[in-house]
């Protein structure tokens, strides 16, 4: 293009479309790119889920109790929900609708949209999951670091013992045990007053037992990881230097040991966070929490296709976003990491 205006670049000079390479711009590009990447990822997830769920035998109208539906009714239901169309047609229609944020009607909860049912169940899961997540990181890290700092002491043995217990005892056992001890037996012991609720969801003491149950395994997992990475860091030269410099213990531990031993822990937090907020079927079932984990399993077992797809899409987006946040966190914790 000819340069006509005064002060314009000379003919032939290349105009860079990219802004100046600042760190912030790089980061912004990185985030945008990662978000755009979610589109093919979600599409891939939809395709796989769509194929798998249609491969599973049984139709949404095959009752597993109650009066079986007659053929005439099944035919009418298939027409009503578009299941009479060829599969490829159903798939394209679904993708088109999802692109318009229409996730379809749930088969199981008649005449309610899958998005509505999903949003109804998610707050309970999110509350418990987020609370557990807030709890597990400091607890797990503290347990692991203290155990490593006092290696082979009683504290270490207790921490390692807890980690082994937490990693090996299934959470439904822990959940049922907690209910028996803190609800049923406590109720009998106190002569008929409820110490902690057996189950159900409310933002009060109802949260205590499920959050504990949900946290045991990840706390154990993080504690083990934090312990071994701290032991690694303790042997590093810079830690020895820090001690040699005569720094106070608090400074050595917090600035040199904990910060560095957190790097491998942070790398797992994305998946742990996603796991927490997408719900645990077991915990939600044992404590009768109206959450998304249980509703997903019910959707699968009742072949509620729109619910299955909507839940999988939500899960994939949550996991992708959580991983993105963790990747961004890396740059804060470890200045050597550059994104872009």
């Amino acid at each position: 293009m000819a340069a006509t205006a005064k002060g314009a670049p000379a003919r032939g000079a290349r105009l860079s479309l990219r802004p100046r390479k600042t760190r912030a711009a790089n980061l912004a590009f990185y985030i945008v790119r990662r978000i755009l990447w979610m589109i093919p990822v979600v599409l891939f997830v939809i395709s796989i889920t769509f194929v798998l769920m249609h491969l599973a035998p049984g139709s949404p109208w095959d009752r597993t109790g109650g009066r079986p539906l007659s053929k005439a009714v099944i035919d009418d239901l298939n027409v009503k929900y578009g299941l009479d169309k060829p599969l490829w047609n159903q798939f394209l229609l679904y993708v088109w609708n999802v692109a318009h944020f229409d996730f379809g009607l749930s088969y199981q909860y008649q005449n309610q949209t899958a998005a509505h049912v999903l949003l109804e169940s998610w707050p309970a899961t999110l509350t418990i999951g987020a609370l557990a997540f807030v709890l597990i990181v400091p607890l797990g890290v503290a347990l692991g670091v203290i155990a490593a700092l006092r290696q082979n002491s009683v504290i270490d043995y207790i921490a390692v013992g807890f980690s082994t217990f937490g990693a090996s005892v299934p959470n439904f056992v822990i959940g049922i045990l907690l209910i028996i001890v803190f609800s049923v037996e406590a109720y009998h012991l106190t002569g008929g007053s409820l110490f902690l609720p057996t189950g159900g969801f409310a933002v009060d003491e109802h949260l205590i037992l499920p959050v504990i149950t949900l946290s045991v395994l990840p706390v154990a997992y993080i504690a083990r990881m934090a312990r071994s990475s701290t032991l690694d860091v303790l042997r590093q030269d810079y830690v020895r230097t820090a001690w040699a410099k005569g720094l106070r213990e608090r400074l050595v531990v917090l600035r040199h040991i904990v910060k560095n031993s957190l790097i491998p822990v942070v790398s797992t937090l994305g998946s742990i966070f996603a796991l927490m907020v997408t719900g645990s079927v077991i915990v939600e079932t044992v404590f009768a929490i109206p959450g998304i984990g249980r509703s997903f399993v019910v959707a699968v077992s009742s072949r509620d296709y729109p619910m299955i797809l909507a839940t999988t899409i939500l899960f994939s987006v949550v996991i992708a976003v959580a991983n993105l946040i963790i990747d961004l966190l890396y740059t804060v914790i470890d200045p050597r990491v550059r994104l872009g």
Binding site: A56, P57, G58, S59, D62, R63, T64, G65, G66, R67, P68, L69, S70, K71, A72, V73, D75, D76, L77, V79, K80, Q108, Y109, Q110, N111, Q112, V117, E120, S121, A124, I176, I179, I180, S183, V184, Y187, G192, L194, P197, T198, G199, G200, F201, T285, V286, F287, A288, P290, G291, R294, S295, S301, S302, R303
Partner: protein, 563 residues
Amino acid sequence: MDGTRGTLKSLPITAVLSITALLAAACGSTNTSSNGGMAPNAQQILRTNSATEPNSFDPGQMTYDYENLIGRNVFETLLKPKPDLTDVEGAAASSYDVSSDGLTYTFHLRPNARWSDGQPLRAQDFLYGYQRLLDPSLAAGYVDPFFDTTIAGGANYGNIDPKNTAAVQSFIQGLGLSAPDDHTFVIKLAQPAGYFKWVAALSAGAPIRKDLVGSRYTSWASNPAGIVSNGMFKISEEVPKDHVTLVPNPYYWGPKPHIQKWNDYFIADANQAFSKYQTGELDALQVPLGTQDAVNADPKLKSQQHRYLSLGIFYLTPNLQVSPFNNVHVREAIAHAIDRDTLVNSVAKGQYVARQTYIPQGMIGYTPSLGSAQNYDPAKGKAALQASGLPTSAYDKIKLLTRATSTNQLINQYLLNQINLNLGVHWTLDVVDSKTVTDRIRKGNFQIYGPDGWGADYPDEQDFFDVYTTGACHGLNWGCPNNKTYDDIVGKGDAALKQSDRQRYYDQAAKMMEDQYWVAFLYNRYDVTLVKPYVQGITSTAIDESNYLPGDFNTNSIYIATH
């Protein structure tokens, strides 16, 4: 119509009787209250557990027991079963007449019946409710008792394209339904059906207000708390996936319920529900087989146990369309190979009762002697296998298809051991998830399946015998005997005007079924529930909708005693 009174022997006094009965019930409750047993209104709170959230609160779209329980208490149908199940009694209709040819049913609605918003209940509401139920585009799950050889014009239901609005409208307008005035609802039948009075008592046949449905034809009930209904309760709140709350309908015409707040929870986990019962957070719950030992071991819990025999029968269903079960002798061998008494007492911990007939105890037509053909007799079983003329390889390695539930597997392991031990064969279990099982049955892709069975929609034999007709092959009638003679006999029984004639035909059908070993009968079940001692006034029936609250047909008599 000619005004001849129909199948109900004392129809002229039905209305009087039902009103008297209701008054008596009301007086009874008052008496209980006056003797100081009843807790104050603020404590009249009932907490039950249905385990599952209803898929819909629209009576036209409810099919499961736990949905029908809500449907029945929130909406009132034309008639309802008497507690002793000998007949029906008036509900929203105070009485009904049947024409002498058995084809026209005229229901007289109560003039004082009202909706929960205070509007009067009109016959047009029933007309709309029935027409909507029978609309193919709604695809109502519980519609078949209403169109299958019952309401005139309904037989064509399966042939209507639900997308063709004109065809749908023409079908609906052609149905034998009319409301000549505000208090008269008339149903014409395609053929005489002595059992239709029971169909008119099914919770799906509820009235619906056209003005409230408006353009939200399928979704008008998606906000449960806003539903206007005509039953003794109305829905005041639903917390999704958690519970639904019912409160008395202030405009209900009859005796008001004592319970002022009824929370029905959706707790799926049996352990959680059991814990809640123990900590006083639930007042009633079902006792699953897995919890029965814990209940038996605790004298206090055991004393709170309610047991009532439900109208249902469980059996093993061989696939008569495939070898070796197309051979009657092989089927006979199975029926003789199972010690049902040990099964019900030891394995089922007393929750089941051994049965060898199709019609269960408690129903008209129950004839225990008919079951002798299926007596436990291993020697006879082995002899039957010999008599089949088949090589051992034909029946030695059969797979027993089972739904993957802990109860089914427990029962089936016992059944398998019995068959293998008593017949010297080597059968195995084929444990599959429930949906897959239903899919395989529908496609006829199984050898033998069970235990599963049939539970009464209503206490009339027609409800049982129609299951085994040819049209229901691999649908309700899993094994597909496809016997034209049986179809004819059942058809005659369904259409006979006199009860004695119906009984004769049905007895013939039962004998054919039992002699030809279409299924191997096993047991029927007690509905076992735990109910807190302060929950009083329970009048349970064998066809109670749910298995977690005894007396759910007559909830207006239930109350909380001072405790």
